[in-house]
Subunit: 134 residues, 4 copies
């Protein structure tokens, strides 16, 4: 119980995300999953979209599920593209717009962050700022 | 038990929506959710589409989930647009065509209305008329 | 559009239920389904259990699904009894405790009411009072 | 964006719960929902059961859904008791063992906490300690 590296890191990350979201003035939902793709920490800022509670978590899930930022999935998921239809896999938890980022330790993805509440570009920026705390 | 502001307001809203729907001659399903996105009141007008019972409720849900009219979501959800795929989030309850409107008290969304039974434009008009009762 | 017998009746029923619930001082969720077992009207009284929004609707559904009061299902659903396991049928919408009542016109069930928010006995009483308005 | 009362309170609560869990030496998942029964904050302590991520959230959900501690639901949900079968309502999110507590401000439930990771008695104790921070 003395060793709480994963949770402490996860909380540093959501706190850093919150600061960035406050700076740009958009309330966000912010989630962090661990290497096993299980939720480690989550916050909803006051006034953040209720519909984004799930989306933030699913962006984190998606980033770890495919080890890439969610914003890279949208073009791949269009008709005629290699991952057409991927958003309906994994019980519908795959999000294909920006706001999810995997975090690496060397070669390995060790956690992922998902942010939702603004425009996908804003979500991605907040996720990047949160990732920088890691 | 003497204080029933939320329900009384919700019923005024559905009643106003019903009047507008009668005026344009299209039977509608009309739902109101509260600030916490929980159903407060619902009516189905005689002859209204059965398949719209759920859609009306989900339009109300969506309007509160993202604090915007549902008709603004469709263009954002197309391939290449920022929210491509959003309709498969939140257990498929996100509706991206017209008929849902959030209702604000100052800055805050305090309830939302969802209407379904006609063309999305008609649904939106009925929702607007209902909102005017608020 | 001038003929709104079903909705008007449904609203009379929920209003009568509301009055009874106010009399006993327990806020309730009250739902009415029509003969086709589709939702016709719903209200949540201020302060009523959020978890009962669905239960009230499902009690109405169950009463019409099996044309009997929901309180008669519990003993039938116990281990060793004829309907053991019935609560997991119909997508889990079958409620086996009191609060749902079918409404007959002669031989035929023409609608059903579901009430949830208090003890099942209270729910059943409110449903009965609501049914009396029919 | 300057007003973050809900999130700040939710984080105080999960932090207080974490301290109690560390004291008894059992890693826990801890969730807080707001008055509308939407997730406000969540933490998973290192080593906490992965299967309890959802249970902690569902305990918080259940406590707000029925405005009571989840440990009071088990005896009511047994065969022959008033709420037999309630655990299959609300999409299976109703948890009927200890670890969920509603938090009141005067008469009104304004949030709820759910804890999962130990024995239900331990979960309840941690939830109580967390509630004391409120």
């Amino acid at each position: 119980m003395t060793n709480a590296v994963t949770l402490d890191r996860a909380q540093q990350i959501v706190t850093a995300g919150r600061k960035e979201a406050e700076k740009i003035g958009v309330p966000m939902n912010i989630a962090v999953v661990d290497a096993g793709n299980n939720l480690a920490a989550f916050i909803r800022m006051d006034g953040a979209w209720l519909g984004s509670i799930e989306i933030a978590q699913n962006k984190a899930f998606t980033s770890r599920a495919f080890d890439m930022a969610t914003k890279h999935l949208a073009p791949l998921a269009e008709p005629g593209q290699p991952l057409f239809g991927i958003e309906s896999t994994n019980d519908g938890k795959v999000i294909i717009f920006g706001g999810g980022i995997p975090l690496k330790n060397g070669e390995h993805v060790v956690r992922a962050i998902g942010v939702s509440g603004g425009k996908p570009d804003q979500d991605h920026e907040v996720a990047k700022a949160a990732a920088a705390a890691f």
